[in-house]
């Protein structure tokens, strides 16, 4: 707790110094607008949080340089959720009660977001998150929440379309019992028939040491593509058993389970040869993505960093269009800057200028188009498809 306070104080102090150093015209204006990042600076998310906070800070800095929002300067407070819901709640309380921020951005772990979200909607503080659990946007958040990470339904929809693009006619899904198993089946049953393919499926027990009978059952349907929906340990066994059974069709799996570790562990390249993987991707090659690269000084910033860059940009533009900096103003206006057509902008400074000039804008960010449905889920984003060739992952496409 002391640690998070110290960071908060330091940030506030830095803000104060910055205020004194600013031109008198800025200093003379009303109180600054306060925003916060609540990212995992320590714990399991530790590798991501600091860069995420840096990306948000770069957006705020640019906007301040260009004169702030609604004539007010913006101060960004950075807190550490320690990848821990308890610490996350303590930090969020401080941000809401002491700092009185209008928005909290960048919560990473689903457990942290789930714990922090009620504090936000009850205090009418806007929350932007990168957490993936489907349940998060189903919380009764009254609109005070958006997330830029695709939920599992969107992911499965896109993989379904990808499978169709491979020209397959019979898809078989083998997946263990997970929170997204049923939604995976439902989504594929809807997507695949539209492209002229059939879909059959089987739930397996991820604790078994062999899947011979399961593979037999799947192969009876003579599929030309098998979607392996498990995690790394069971996917290893499954891929070996598919090879033993002489399966000649295509195999597709999630990049979080079919990864280099799996390839090393299988130890025999022909078993994994040609297997496709897919994962949500940042909008690599977009102008906003290039801005994030420059802002954080990395050649390939991770998706979370791109997402939090978008969070800060969207929130600031929503305030500008509302001419108000409250959480409720952000909630009511965020979709006016992210979707619905208008001048395409890729950063907050340009967006705020366009808004001041009375133009309608449509923000396209570093993580993707940033269009949200009524629950706060993104409607689309880019996905990265790779294929294993001779034991190495090669990019098929980012689309």
């Amino acid at each position: 707790m002391t640690k998070t306070f110290r960071i908060g104080r330091r940030a506030a102090l830095a803000g104060g110094v910055a205020a004194l150093a600013s031109p008198a015209v800025v200093r003379a204006q009303a109180d600054p607008i306060k925003l916060a990042t609540l990212t995992p600076l320590t714990g399991a998310g530790g590798p991501y949080g600091p860069v995420m906070a840096k990306a948000a800070a770069s957006v705020v800095e640019e906007v301040n340089k260009a004169g702030g929002v609604n004539g007010r300067r913006v101060v960004l407070v950075s807190e550490d959720d320690q990848t821990n819901p308890e610490a996350g709640v303590r930090a969020a309380r401080k941000l809401i009660d002491v700092d009185k921020v209008s928005a909290i951005m960048g919560t990473w772990a689903s457990s942290v977001t789930t714990a922090v979200a009620p504090l936000c909607w009850e205090s009418k503080t806007f929350l932007c998150t990168v957490s993936g659990a489907d349940s998060i946007t189903l919380l009764p958040h009254q609109g005070y929440l958006v997330r830029t990470q695709p939920n599992s339904k969107l992911q499965v929809m896109r993989v379904g379309e990808f499978m169709l693009s491979l020209g397959v006619k019979k898809v078989f899904t083998m997946i263990p019992q997970t929170p997204f198993t049923q939604s995976t089946f439902d989504t594929l049953n809807a997507v695949l028939p539209k492209g002229g393919a059939t879909h059959q499926s089987l739930i397996y027990d991820d604790k078994k040491t062999t899947y011979r009978t399961e593979v037999d059952q799947a192969l009876r349907a003579s599929p030309d593509l098998l979607l392996a929906g498990g995690y790394t340990p069971d996917s290893v066994v499954l891929l070996k058993d598919l090879y033993r059974a002489g399966f000649k069709g295509k195999v597709v799996g999630f990049a979080y389970s079919i990864n280099q570790k799996l390839v090393d562990q299988v130890g025999q390249n022909e078993i994994v040869e040609g297997v496709y993987t897919f994962a949500p991707s940042s909008a690599e090659g977009s102008t906003a993505y290039d801005k994030v690269k420059a802002a954080v000084g990395s050649a390939n910033p991770d998706p979370y960093t791109c997402q939090v860059y978008d969070h800060a940009s969207m929130v600031l533009m929503a305030m500008a269009i509302a001419k108000d900096s409250s959480g409720t103003a952000i909630k009511d206006n965020i979709r006016k800057v992210t979707q619905g057509g208008g001048k395409t902008v890729d950063n907050a400074v340009d967006g705020i200028k366009a808004i001041a000039a009375g133009e309608k804008i449509d923000y396209t960010g570093a993580s993707g188009p940033c269009d949200f449905d009524e629950k706060g889920d993104i409607l689309d984003c880019k996905f990265r498809y790779e294929q294993i060739k001779a034991g190495k992952f090669t990019v098929v496409k980012i689309a």
Binding site: P176, Q177, L202, I203, Y204, D205, K207, K208, T209, T210, R212, T213, E214, D216, Q217, R220, T232, P233, V236, V237, K240, Y243, R244, A245, G246, K261, Q265, V266, G267, Q268, I271
Partner: protein, 287 residues
């Protein structure tokens, strides 16, 4: 349809053979030490990793199995002496609970040393051989052969050697055995070592075909226990029979009710057995 059922039975026979090895170890320990030693979960994992290291260091399959046996046996003996046997005096339940804790300790020690990532024995994987509609894996046949050889060795030792006879006597009636000059502490130590050694070998055999990670043993714990209960706790032939039945039932359940209910097979078997025939299929005859 009939071919897939036959195939499932063949698959079940293979996994049942592999399951039989740790089940024998578990039931033999129960026969002598009189408590269910749930540390088999951690010991099976330990044996799998010991064999993995030995195999990676260039040892042949048989040599690696010996390493798995010795390491698992030694660890099993240590935990029994330090943690479980002192508790047996309070009853079987405290000892069983202590053994669950030992299993967790072992699992996490392995995790500390090797991390959570799955590892595979660097063994070339071959396509299956087809006999008509039925396919079998050449490697699984090899593993099955090793398991069968091991089981025959156990039966021969129990039937024909002095130690084997002493173990059976001690399991049958410890007081009478000690009157005949059999030292129960020594028999207990041998049972711990050999029983856990078998469990370690079983962990390695099961890992050979798939992959090993710190949860390898935990995944098979229920099946081992169910096999032993089904055959009659304390009965070595019973454990073998139980293992075959559980192996086949688990594979058939995939066809009948879906793979996600596999864990239920073990529980249902235990429940049905304890309700209808608590002695187990063969009853408690310790050889």
């Amino acid at each position: 349809m009939i071919d897939i059922v036959v195939q499932a039975l063949v698959n079940g026979l293979v996994s049942g053979t592999l399951l039989a090895v740790p089940a024998i170890g578990f039931t033999a320990m129960f026969a002598v030490l009189r408590f269910p030693n749930f540390a088999v979960s951690g010991i099976a994992t330990l044996g799998a990793f010991a064999g993995y290291l030995a195999y990676g260091a260039g040892l042949q399959m048989a040599g690696s199995l010996v390493v798995a046996f010795v390491v698992a046996g030694a660890a099993g003996l240590l935990f029994d002496e330090v943690a479980h046997l002192p508790m047996v005096k309070q009853g079987a339940l405290p000892a069983a609970i202590a053994s669950i804790a030992s299993g967790l300790v072992l699992e996490n020690l392995v995790r500390l040393g090797f991390g959570n990532d799955p590892r595979g024995y660097d063994r070339p994987i071959a396509r299956d051989i087809r006999l008509g509609d039925i396919r079998v894996s050449p490697q699984q046949l090899e593993t099955m052969g090793l398991a069968l050889a091991l089981m025959l060795a156990v039966f021969a030792i129990l039937a024909f050697t002095r130690i084997g006879k002493a173990m059976r006597a001690s399991a049958d009636n410890p007081d009478l055995a000690s009157l005949k000059g059999i030292r129960p502490e020594r028999i207990a130590m041998i049972a711990s070592f050999a029983g856990m050694g078998l469990v370690g070998v079983g962990g390695m055999l099961l890992g050979l075909d798939s992959a090993i990670d710190p949860l390898t043993g935990t995944r098979i714990l229920l099946s081992i226990f169910a096999a032993a209960v089904l055959g009659g706790l304390g009965s070595v032939p019973g454990a073998v029979l139980g293992a075959f039945l559980i192996g086949m039932a688990e594979e058939l359940s995939v066809l009948a009710v879906g793979s996600q209910y596999r864990a239920a097979v073990g529980f249902v078997a235990i429940l049905a057995m304890l309700t209808l025939r608590p002695r187990g299929l063969l009853g408690e005859r310790a050889y």
